[in-house]
Amino acid sequence: MNAVLIALLALPLLGAALMLAPIGDRQALRLGTTVTGGTLLLSVVLAAGFDHDDPGRMQAVTDVSWIPALDVRLHLGVDGISLPLLVLTALLTFLCALYSVRKLPAGPGGRAFTGLLLLLQTGMLATFAVLDLVLFFLAFEIVLIPMYFLIARWGSGQKVAAANRFILYTLLGSAVMLLGFLLIGVQAGTFDMVALADAHGSGLSHTTQLVAALAVLVGLAVKAPAWPLHSWLPDAHTAAPTAGSVLLAGVMLKMGTYGLVRVLLPIVPDGTATFAPYLGAFAAVGIVYGSLACLALARKGAKGDLKRLIAYSSVGHMGFVLLGIASLTPTGLNGALFANVAHGLITGLLFFVVGAVKDRYGTADLDTLAGATGAALYGRAPRIGALLAFAAVASLGLPGLAGFWGELLAMYGAFDPAAGLSRPAFVTYMVLAGLGTLLTAAYLLIVVKRVCMGDPAQPAPVADLPDLKGYEAASWTPLAALTLLAGLWPALLLGLSDPAVKHLLGGG
């Protein structure tokens, strides 16, 4: 099994290196699809070979020395927490590659695009697969340069400024995070995440835990992003090409929350417990703030950009994930991890659909799209309209779809937080989060009303509006299907994450 995991990381890296060779753009794009397809296959094999009876145990483990001088080891492994994220990453990258073969955003060509996409995938997969703090930091950094160029070279609008903001913001966060890692490593004498998690904070003084937890928390909160460190996100999402937005929202935000669960919680438990109430407060504010921002953008005459709106909705949704983590209970953490994957599927789908709408109309400006009565996608392009409505309804947390369980469990976790945390405070956060769900439903329904409904006969910005095309259906259907599956059968994911979460919390 460990060979599969190594191949999973090596294959995209190899593919990225291959893009240095002189090959044609079309060939490069097809090769990219093949490589990402192969990676997806490998991730499915990994999931199939995974011992589902014992998801709390690290499986497919490789542990060899890489840099003895720094005590850095190539330590890889998957458990019930990382497995769904690995599969999600492989799936979303494959769908992006598939989509880009037919719909390459305007930019310098397919070869560089594919190379960057594969490098990005390597970094994202590595983040979820490595079990060494220094390697985790390395993987965290690998994604920056490819995403920078994807935004700056293939994006639209204020793309260079947005890309700069994205990379500098994230790097500042991760540099601070590195200092936290080094403090942990120097004090505990190892960078091994499994050993550190098993030690559960013993060997680290309280002060060390506090300082390290704060540094790591800041770094991961920028990535997640937690309010008020989110301000890089709307610009980056708005400027990024469709594939970039999908991966940014679908996977890269999860790197932050995954880090919180994998690093912060088990390695510096005392520090985490100290900062959890603040994290919960920021999460609750983020939920309300994100929803209010979306409501403001969705209003008529606000000149709201649809991609920007979904970006702000991500701030709200990631707020639920952070709230679940902050509760420090198995329930809340399970909810957070479920919401992580659900948000990846749903927001990925939303960005795909909105990207397609933007390509067709030439703009994502909600007022231009909607005109006087609404864009009437139901009438003019019924399949795209239906998919948009489906994704929006899933995003607002309709029971039976993926968005429901994660947020419910996260709020339930906040209702009864771990011992030692202030219950009144967390109940307040839960109430705020509940208010957030209402606001979320409000703005998403407004979006559906303004984009999908309306009078098909009114004069539209574009005369010709083709409905769902074959390649679009191919790259979107898996996401829609999985959204439904995860909503109807949540045990599929919760069964994986629950034992692993209990193991991390030191309960079993």
Binding site: I67, P68, A69, A112, L138, I145, V160, L172, L183, G185
Partner: protein
């Protein structure tokens, strides 16, 4: 030598006893293997100077290759030393006396940097000497002499050898900077010369104070002498220590002794600028490390704090100035590299400061590792700038990827290594070890300052990297600036030595990125 010994033996024995009790003690036995690396460089320098007299004008090119061969031989001489035990020579026979020359791991690592850096500089220079019609014999002689001094310095273990080695490394550099026969070269050489001589004078004053207070010039002896110095000599010793540090801080171009850097780099021939930024800096840094950790050990906390503040100021000033470089300034590329080298000098000082706090020489390993990495990629970046040529404006690099793919990839890789961001993995790990030394020594504030600086530095490295892959001027609609068409100089066929130097640096950086242990082993090993 062996024959003289054999012949002399039968003649010497029947003589009457000499006036000295132990005649053998007067004859210094020199460990030639230990001193081979700087010695070979010096011999090669002389050989070049003499050969220059007999070579016809048309064949002066050979001198460059001769220099390269000399440096290769000097590098090869490092091998037996690296594999064997630490060797010392020029030792004092008197009790308690140390040795003036020690080839330990610290010395070997910096010798590798000095000689390897000089070799890369030679490869970069072959083309420049020809196109700019620099006087060949003098150029190679000066370069080799300077490299010899830089290789001698890290092995020096007394103040006299240290000062002499530093001067041997610096004096030829003045001439090298001034070799370009235009106004700019002369001006920058003069600027460099005057400020450097002032620093040397100050340092000599400091050295004499220290000698007066400690009663010895041996670095180890000074540490003992200072610890037991009588109370009334304390101020003298402290003043001496500060003045000595000033001299070395100047050579490393630490703030506030950094102002000569940009003008000197711009005025010098490009490879010489690269040489100064790597080998010149390494010489100053190794001297600083030796003086602080060996000689001034008793004052560890004081100079630790001074160096920490100096490091913070240096990286902040350097990076802020680099950030302010505009893309249309003439020689903007070299200016940017000059300021970035000031910023990098700040990172290099961090482990030195940590060594002061920790009270051991252990953190120095981070400086050594980072200096080796920095040397390799910085020379690579200078090489890529030399390859592109033109007016040296940053705008001239716009769209380089379209004209010369590999040069663009190479430069981008070097810049990302300097920034410390993957795919420049080796640069990242270089920064990690520096961070670790600071965190380990409890210098949390310095680590945070450095973290902010790394982010600031990324802004300008990335701006340049992005320019390489931007659409060429005039090609991208709306992105073209007001620059004249044809400003972006398309490179001619890549000259072979230049390509070799770039390839060498790139392959080295890639190999180190895959296997960082190769360079990072100095962090965990013992240095002295």
């Amino acid at each position: 030598m062996a024959t003289a010994h054999d012949l002399g033996q039968p003649l010497m024995t029947p003589l009457t006893p000499l006036a000295v009790a132990d005649p053998g003690g007067l004859i210094q036995s020199v460990d030639w293997v230990a001193v081979a690396p700087p010695l070979i460089a010096a011999l090669a320098a002389l050989a070049v100077l003499v050969t220059d007299l007999f070579l016809p004008e048309a064949r002066k090119r050979l001198l460059g290759w001769l220099s390269a061969a000399g440096l290769l031989a000097a590098l090869a001489a490092l091998l037996p030393l690296a594999l064997g035990d630490t060797r010392s020579t020029f030792c004092f026979q008197s009790p308690g006396g140390g040795c003036s020359y020690t080839a330990d791991h610290f010395a070997l690592a910096f010798q590798l940097l000095a000689l390897g850096g000089a070799l890369l500089t030679v490869l970069l220079s072959l083309h420049t000497v020809e196109t700019e019609e620099l006087p060949g014999g003098e150029y190679w002689f000066l370069l080799l002499s300077s490299a010899c001094g830089a290789a001698l310095l890290p092995a020096a273990r007394d103040l006299a050898t240290l000062v002499i080695a530093l001067e041997v490394a610096t004096l030829p550099a003045f001439a090298l900077v001034g070799l370009r026969r235009d106004g700019r070269g002369a001006e920058s050489a003069l600027k460099f010369f005057l400020s450097s001589v002032t620093a040397t004078a100050v340092m000599l004053l400091g050295v004499s104070f220290v000698y007066a207070a400690a009663g010895t010039i041996q670095l180890q002896g000074i540490a003992d002498g200072l610890a037991h110095a009588p109370g009334q000599l304390k101020p003298l010793a402290e003043a001496g220590a500060v003045l000595t540090l000033v001299g070395f801080a100047f050579k490393t171009a630490a703030v506030p002794f950094h102002f000569w850097v940009p003008d000197t780099y711009v005025g010098a021939p490009l490879p010489v600028a690269g040489y100064l930024s790597v080998v010149g800096k390494a010489a100053g840094l190794s001297g600083l490390a030796l003086v602080t950790t060996l000689a001034f050990r008793p004052y560890g906390h004081t100079w630790g704090l001074v160096l920490a503040v100096l490091a913070a100021l240096t990286m902040t000033f350097g990076n802020a100035a680099a950030l302010r470089q505009r893309t249309d300034t003439p020689h903007g590329a070299v200016r940017l590299l000059a300021w970035s080298s000031v910023g990098q000098a700040g990172y290099l000082l961090v482990p030195l400061a940590a060594a002061g706090y920790a009270g051991t020489a252990e953190p120095l390993g981070a400086t050594v590792a980072y200096a080796l990495i920095y040397g390799l990629v910085n020379l690579g970046a200078f090489g890529a700038v030399a390859l592109v040529g033109g007016s040296g404006r940053l705008d001239g690099f716009r769209g380089l990827a379209g004209r010369n793919r590999w040069a663009a990839f190479g430069l981008a890789f070097f810049l990302l290594c300097l920034a410390g961001l993957p795919p420049g993995v080796v640069g990242l790990f270089g920064k990690v070890v520096v961070f670790r030394s600071a965190v380990d020594a409890g210098l949390g504030w310095l680590a945070v300052v450095m973290a902010v600086n790394v982010v600031v530095a990324l802004a300008y490295y990335l701006k340049w990297t992005a320019l390489l892959f931007a659409p060429a001027a005039g090609e991208g609609a709306g992105e073209a600036t007001g620059e004249a068409p044809g400003e972006a100089v398309a490179p001619r066929r890549t000259p072979a030595p230049l390509g070799a130097a770039l390839g060498l640096a790139a392959v080295g950086a890639v190999v180190l990125s895959v296997a960082p242990q190769l360079v990072l082993q100095v962090v965990s090993g013992s240095l002295f």
